[in-house]
């Protein structure tokens, strides 16, 4: 049996997770075609990578978990995909996600929810839940996802894998279907820090097709230091509220002790505007989404309902039938906060609040703190259906991740323990473009942490 056959077998066995959107026969065919042309000497030679269904590929459809893009085939591929292929990686199919990456559980996919690999009653997190579930189930060593408010780190924490959200501008967004353009970044899942870091190194760097991608060389992958002597790690008190899940708190306390044992100086810090991050995000992200999603109108691509009497009726029917409940809510909220009479009270104010949140981080990093350590999520994976009735309850699942997106900073989650058998993630945050320091600390911590030990 070849490595490709084994991979296809593993993907087929994982079918009950509903994590993969691409039919197995299509994956097999695409892998055979790629194997024939793949670069054998590349940095990722032979590594299978699955890709969230909002990143454009030539091999597979890109439906963004939405009916409005059902069967859509992109005429170009994302820069990140082209770079993975050039490095010898094999693109092994597209993964399920919340519709247009809007959600924290993958329950908002038009193609059904994905299952948590350890407990089918629970969610794998979201919105990149399919990618997280396949890495968590050991099907692939790495996957691409995307982040707007935590959509890589939150599902990575839930599925017990490593997830990295790079600095805004580190990775080209060319070919990532836009949701909130000032927040969106392609992110990486890995079984280990090394797998995730290697993929990130390959996809990072300047790109003439994305003006918001910084003019920088690809990220060099650092070596793991012996210990963390010389590192100052801040613990922001706002990330340890009284209602934090006690198991998550125990896992974090144990990890903070490990950071100290490794020689890091651990210091209590404060990021005072943190409580306003979720409300700020749920003004800015829907505002940008309502604008970005205006392009789905049934004219140039995607399915079109029959019988519209005029073009306006065509727009309304295409969008009314094509968008699911959460996307509809966000398009309406976004339209509202940008509309005359509400713009200043909501959108402009949120833009200013976003500056204060970014300034909180600068204040801490300017005072000699190298990295921050926090829980990645407020709870272990929750049950399917638990938060579907209340959109705000679902939004709060991203309370510890959304700040890095608002401030444009890099952040990483790695598994730090289990609570009742379910994975818990710990998060490292770094100043902009200091992914290398964040990875050094993650490599070192990964060597001593016990990800499967009950906290």
């Amino acid at each position: 049996m070849t490595a490709t056959d084994q991979l296809v077998d593993r993907l087929a066995q994982a079918a009950p997770l509903n994590a993969l959107r691409t039919p197995i026969a299509e994956v097999r065919e695409a892998l055979a075609a790629q194997a024939a042309t793949a670069s054998a000497g590349g940095a990722l030679a032979g590594m299978p990578v699955v890709v969230k269904d909002n990143i454009c590929t030539l091999e597979f459809t890109t439906s963004c978990g939405s009916r409005i893009l059902e069967g859509y085939r992109s005429p170009f591929e994302a820069t990140a995909i082209a770079r993975l292929k050039a490095a010898g990686a094999l693109i092994a199919g597209k993964t399920n996600c919340d519709e247009f990456a809007m959600g924290s559980s993958t329950e908002h996919s038009a193609y059904g929810r994905s299952l948590h690999p350890l407990d089918p009653e629970r969610v794998p997190g979201g919105s990149s839940g399919g990618s997280a579930a396949l890495v968590g189930a050991g099907v692939v060593p790495a996957a691409l996802g995307s982040e707007t408010g935590g959509s890589v780190r939150q599902p990575a924490a839930f599925c017990g894998v490593v997830g990295i959200k790079p600095t805004y501008g580190r990775v080209s967004r060319y070919g990532l279907v836009a949701f909130g353009s000032s927040l969106d970044q392609i992110g990486v899942f890995g079984r280990t820090v090394s797998d995730a870091g290697r993929v990130l190194a390959v996809i990072s760097g300047r790109d003439p097709y994305d003006a918001t991608c910084e003019d920088r060389d690809p990220l060099p992958l650092p070596a793991a230091p012996e210990n963390l002597q010389g590192f100052v790690i801040g613990i922001p008190k706002e990330y340890f509220p009284p209602d934090l899940d006690p198991g998550v708190r125990r896992a974090c306390d144990r990890t903070i002790k490990l950071l100290r044992d490794l020689g890091a100086a651990v210091r209590d810090v404060s990021l005072p505007h943190t409580p306003h991050a979720i409300p700020t995000y749920y003004i800015i992200a829907p505002a940008e989404a309502s604008s970005n999603l205006a392009r789905y109108d049934g004219v140039r691509y995607g399915p079109r309902p029959a019988g519209a009497v005029d073009v306006r009726a065509l727009y309304r029917a295409t969008r009314g039938q094509g968008f699911g409940a959460e996307v509809r809510r966000r398009v309406l909220i976004g339209t509202y906060v940008l509309s005359a009479g509400y713009y200043d009270a909501y959108y402009r104010r949120a833009q200013r609040m976003r500056s204060l949140i970014a300034q909180d981080f600068r204040n801490v990093f300017d005072r000699g703190v190298d990295l921050l350590f926090t829980p990645s999520t407020p709870t272990p994976p929750f049950k399917a259906g638990e938060k579907l009735g209340d959109p705000v309850a679902m939004y709060l699942a991203d309370i510890f991740t959304v700040t890095a997106n608002l401030a444009g900073l890099p952040a990483l989650t790695l598994p730090i323990g289990r609570v009742n058998g379910l994975p818990v993630g710990g998060q490292l945050l770094a100043p902009a473009f200091l992914e290398d320091e964040m990875l050094e600390a993650a490599f070192t911590l990964e060597r001593v942490v016990a990800p499967e030990a009950e906290a």
Binding site: P279, Y282, R328, R329, T335
Partner: protein, 108 residues
């Protein structure tokens, strides 16, 4: 309730989004809940004077103004629901409904 049924209908109209009568009541409740929640940022005085956040590179990068071929694997005819002779086909324009502000302005 921070948003009325009429306001939801108005923004759905602005967003070119058909909303079924049956879904409207639920949407009014959900959007009100979300707007009541996000309105808490109004209580932070410092947010009145802070400069707005600007994402991305400090300076815009420009490229030379040259016509270059679009790097597409295939053309729009393969993607479009209706396409002929280099054009996307749509139903007729016009027929703006009552209460449509743009149509009213045009009439004035």
């Amino acid at each position: 309730m921070s948003i009325s049924r009429e306001e939801v209908e108005r923004i759905a109209h602005l967003a070119e989004l058909q909303v079924d009568e049956a879904a409207l009541a639920g949407l009014v409740d959900q959007l009100s809940r979300i707007l009541d929640y996000v309105a808490q940022i109004a209580t932070v005085a410092a947010a009145e004077s802070a400069p707005p956040f600007l994402p991305g590179p400090a300076a815009a990068r420009f490229r030379s103004d040259e016509v270059r071929p679009a790097p597409l694997a295939f053309g729009p005819e393969r993607m479009a629901p209706a396409f002929r002779d280099g054009f996307f086909l749509v139903p007729r324009l016009g027929a703006f409904g009552p209460g449509d502000t743009e149509a009213e302005e045009d009439d004035a």
